[in-house]
């Protein structure tokens, strides 16, 4: 066993230390590339009062949607929360606080949190409700707003393949928010489809180095498709 071996063998162990009222940064876009088993483990644990930053909030009964069933989420930071009746009901009733954040700003806020950049300027959201209360500054004749980094007590993410050191490869558009989400969590937990021995991944082809990964677990995935669209031959 090496000090760099990040593999844990149970989902319980993977989320050890997760407590009520913590902040979680989650990877995934819609239901694509979501850490579905880690989300199920959060449901099983019954952790409450969570703040979750994730592009979407799942759908009814899938993804982060299942954490709404027992009111485990206090606040969502997301760019798009449609397709989810329970979410809508909890938001309308005021049970659930929602901080709508433009998709690119959300991705950059996660990256910034992992990269030691406490804040950055962006034109996105200037002059809109997103910019309200935020500092505005002009650069080269254009107005930008100041956005701050996001940090998580935990981050949960899904990758395709990993070595035991936590070096990660993602597959197709299941990459999405996962790399940045991982970097922004104090304890980052990643579930993958396959774990290979160290040395089997080409160093040039690793999408995210294992230094960002604290715990790694191999899982099996449903990979629910939201909009199955096909053409005929």
């Amino acid at each position: 066993m090496s000090g760099f071996d990040k593999v844990v063998t149970s989902y319980e162990e993977a989320l050890e230390g997760l407590e009520d009222n913590m902040t979680i940064i989650a990877g995934g876009f819609g239901l694509c590339g979501i850490p579905e088993n880690l989300i199920k483990e959060i449901k099983r644990r019954g952790t409450k009062g969570l703040t979750i930053a994730s592009n979407n909030a799942g759908v009814d009964g899938k993804g982060l949607g299942i954490l709404l069933e027992d009111q485990q989420i206090k606040k969502m930071i997301a760019s798009y929360v449609g397709e989810n009746a329970l979410f809508e009901a909890q938001m309308m009733s005021g049970e659930l606080e929602v901080e709508l954040t433009p998709q690119g700003t959300l991705a950059e806020k996660m990256r910034a949190g992992g990269a030691g950049i406490p804040a950055f300027f962006t034109a996105t959201g200037y002059g809109t409700p997103v910019g309200e209360g935020k500092e505005v500054r002009e650069f080269d004749g254009r107005n930008y707003i100041l956005e701050e980094a996001l940090y998580g007590d935990f981050s949960i993410a899904k990758a395709w393949k990993a070595d035991r050191y936590g070096n990660l490869m993602f597959r197709k558009t299941a990459r999405n928010f996962n790399p940045m989400a991982i970097t922004a969590g104090k304890i980052s937990v990643v579930e993958v489809e396959e774990i290979v021995e160290v040395g089997q991944l080409d160093p040039d082809e690793i999408h995210l180095p294992g230094i960002y990964v604290n715990r790694l677990i191999q899982g099996t995935f449903e990979k629910t498709i939201e909009q199955r669209t096909v053409r005929s031959a």
């Binding site: 449609g82 709508l100 690119g104 991705a107 962006t122 909009q227 199955r228 669209t229």
Partner: protein
């Protein structure tokens, strides 16, 4: 006659140029991909992390790990590339996408756009729309010119919460193609059979009518 959805898509496609990287929003913008001329190549950017989006997959090709920003299963064209959401929006925010096409509820003659939220109704979120309108220099908004009850959606000032401020320079409606400059709409083309008077009546913001306003051709 007001343009059909298909005609709107066709007119959008006339804005394409060979070698353009294009982000197409959900709905009519997406349809425009069906009208890319044969002698031209356009590469579609999907903001969830794909450049070079292809057609919908055959049934046996469906891959849950390969979707577009509308969460639909898609394919990749040769020369496609995959990247993270941070990289995707670095590309968008940094102005590297040549053309962005998206829908809206309202546009005004200051170049403001409202497209993501109707207060009191369900708030679904802006997704990538705020980044897209802030990042692109070349944007076409596609929308109906007026509501079913005849209320203009091309206004002196947007009434709904904004998606972006002062960033829209071109609007294509079912009645007209308009540029926006210096706080005015400038009528560029009419839908076939639609009169300037009809357009003027249904346009809320100040409208400039050049001497020659040709009908669109398809």
């Amino acid at each position: 006659m007001a343009l059909t959805r298909e005609q709107l898509a066709q007119r959008v496609a006339q804005e394409f140029k060979d070698g353009y990287y294009v982000n197409l929003g959900i709905g009519i913008p997406t349809l425009a991909a069906n009208y890319i001329p044969d002698d031209m190549q356009v590469m579609l950017q999907s903001e969830n992390g794909l450049l070079g989006m292809g057609a919908f997959p055959l049934d046996e090709e469906v891959d849950a790990d390969l979707i577009n920003a509308g969460k639909q299963t898609v394919t990749m064209v040769p020369g496609a590339s995959i990247f993270s959401s941070a990289e995707s929006f670095a590309m968008i925010r940094g102005g590297h996408v040549d053309l962005t096409v998206l829908g809206a509820f309202e546009v005004d003659c200051q170049g403001n756009i409202a497209s993501y939220m109707i207060p009191g109704k369900l708030i679904k979120g802006m997704g990538g729309a705020m980044d897209l309108v802030a990042g692109a220099d070349n944007i076409i908004v596609t929308m109906t010119h007026a509501s079913k009850s005849g209320a203009s959606k091309l206004l002196a000032e947007c009434t709904l919460p904004l998606t972006g401020k002062g960033c829209i320079k071109r609007v294509l409606t079912d009645l007209a193609l308009m540029d926006i400059a210096d706080g005015k709409f400038i009528l560029r083309e009419r839908a076939p059979g639609v009169t300037i008077e009809e357009i003027a009546k249904l346009t809320g913001g100040e409208l400039v009518i050049p001497d020659n306003v040709p009908e669109m051709t398809f």
